[in-house]
């Protein structure tokens, strides 16, 4: 069996997320169907990040094992021809058998696209925060505060059943653009719903609805009822995964 690593871009608008669900089309299932058609074989894909419904990716990584002798570049082109145009395989390469897209990942990068003005062209890929004035310095302070190893229980969706809430955030910062604020975060791992809950809570601080001191207390509380509302899925991108 050969192990193939795929790098994938997608517009998540019309999908229930990465992972196969009974409720609608997933990225994983769409790719597996394409691979079955191309290789006449069932290939099970493992994704680096289980992006939620509506979340996008510029560099999702997945791997799957195949008996096919087709060259990775031929698989890439063949698969792109068979899948809908809101998913694109950017790269395909053969990797050692031990490579596991999820467990081998050392660092994942996410970006959240916050629009400060209404936008028609980016309406599917950004969150327009409405007519609020945001205080970028308060938001910068929040972003800086979460760098390092912390228990992120407070920022985890309640349906998470694991018992390890520790994440080591390597970088976390707001980038200012003329009509946007981009939140960029990298970590060894992310909990379910973590980036969206962080962004939603930081926006509440930016709007002045919560003082920064309260934000500091949320992490320490380890209580999922303390964090703010989740920011909408459409502004979130899995940017890349480092191995």
């Amino acid at each position: 069996m050969r192990n193939i690593k795929f790098t994938i871009e997608y517009d998540g608008t019309n999908y229930v997320g990465w992972q196969t669900q009974p409720t609608g089309p997933s990225i994983q299932h769409t790719l597996e169907q394409g691979l079955k058609q191309l290789l006449q074989e069932d290939v099970q894909l493992i994704g680096a990040g289980r992006t939620d419904s509506g979340v996008h990716a510029r560099g999702q990584v997945a791997n799957g094992k195949t008996r096919s002798g087709l060259q990775p570049e031929a698989i890439r082109k063949g698969l792109n021809a068979l899948i809908p145009d809101d998913i694109v395989i950017l790269a395909a390469e053969e990797v050692p058998d031990s490579f596991h897209a999820r467990y081998s990942a050392r660092e994942r990068f996410y970006r959240y696209n916050l629009s400060l003005v209404p936008t028609a062209l980016e309406r599917r890929i950004s969150w327009y925060v409405g007519g609020y004035m945001l205080d970028p310095e308060a938001m910068d302070a929040c972003a800086a505060q979460i760098v390092g190893e912390h228990d992120f229980s407070s920022y985890c969706k309640s349906e998470y059943r694991g018992d390890n809430f520790l994440c080591t955030v390597k970088s976390s910062a707001w980038i200012r653009e003329p009509s946007k604020l981009l939140f960029e975060i990298s970590s060894n791992r992310f909990l379910h719903g973590m980036v969206r809950a962080l962004v939603g809570t930081m926006v509440e601080v930016g709007r002045g609805h919560r003082p920064f001191e309260e934000f500091k207390g949320i992490l320490e509380a380890r209580d999922r009822r303390k964090a703010g509302m989740a920011a909408p899925a459409r502004g979130l991108f899995l940017e890349r995964v480092v191995y």
Copy 2:
């Protein structure tokens, strides 16, 4: 009557173009319907550029006259609440009665977004030119050649019924980005289909299908059969209009 100037962003994917047509929804008609609902009055809009079906705008300008006493900012917000989210009114302001979005315009800026790699996220707003190697220097030479006043008959769609084909191109250049080529052009006026025919023909030169010398001859020929195929509408943006 007050004269209101609107600056408009839109995703043209689902429209037959700026101008009202019997064949489907237009940007103009959608806005006029919104204004009628908001102001209880028929307002006729004049657009600066008659963008074709599928062409986008980041800064289309239109004006219309109203008896309403509503402040421009209230008209902007009210109209945004009534129109679909693929159109956004960025600004509304009162202008002198003599202001005419089309005739008063001194310079229009268009941009064409050419993708060098397949893209899921920008599939609606770019043209992926396929697996061709493009020669950016040959394309730069073409872009530079059209600066100045020229008769652009060769780059005008055959249904154009006017008799003035002279345009004064003020700037014309390709901007290189990591996985893109952006063509930026400004001119006092544009003929119907001109930017898309220019881009399509320059891409033929970039692919090596036409020598640069032939490109030079097309303008001089003043023959609409000489130019290359039109680039797809989805890559084209009306960026802004200067008065």
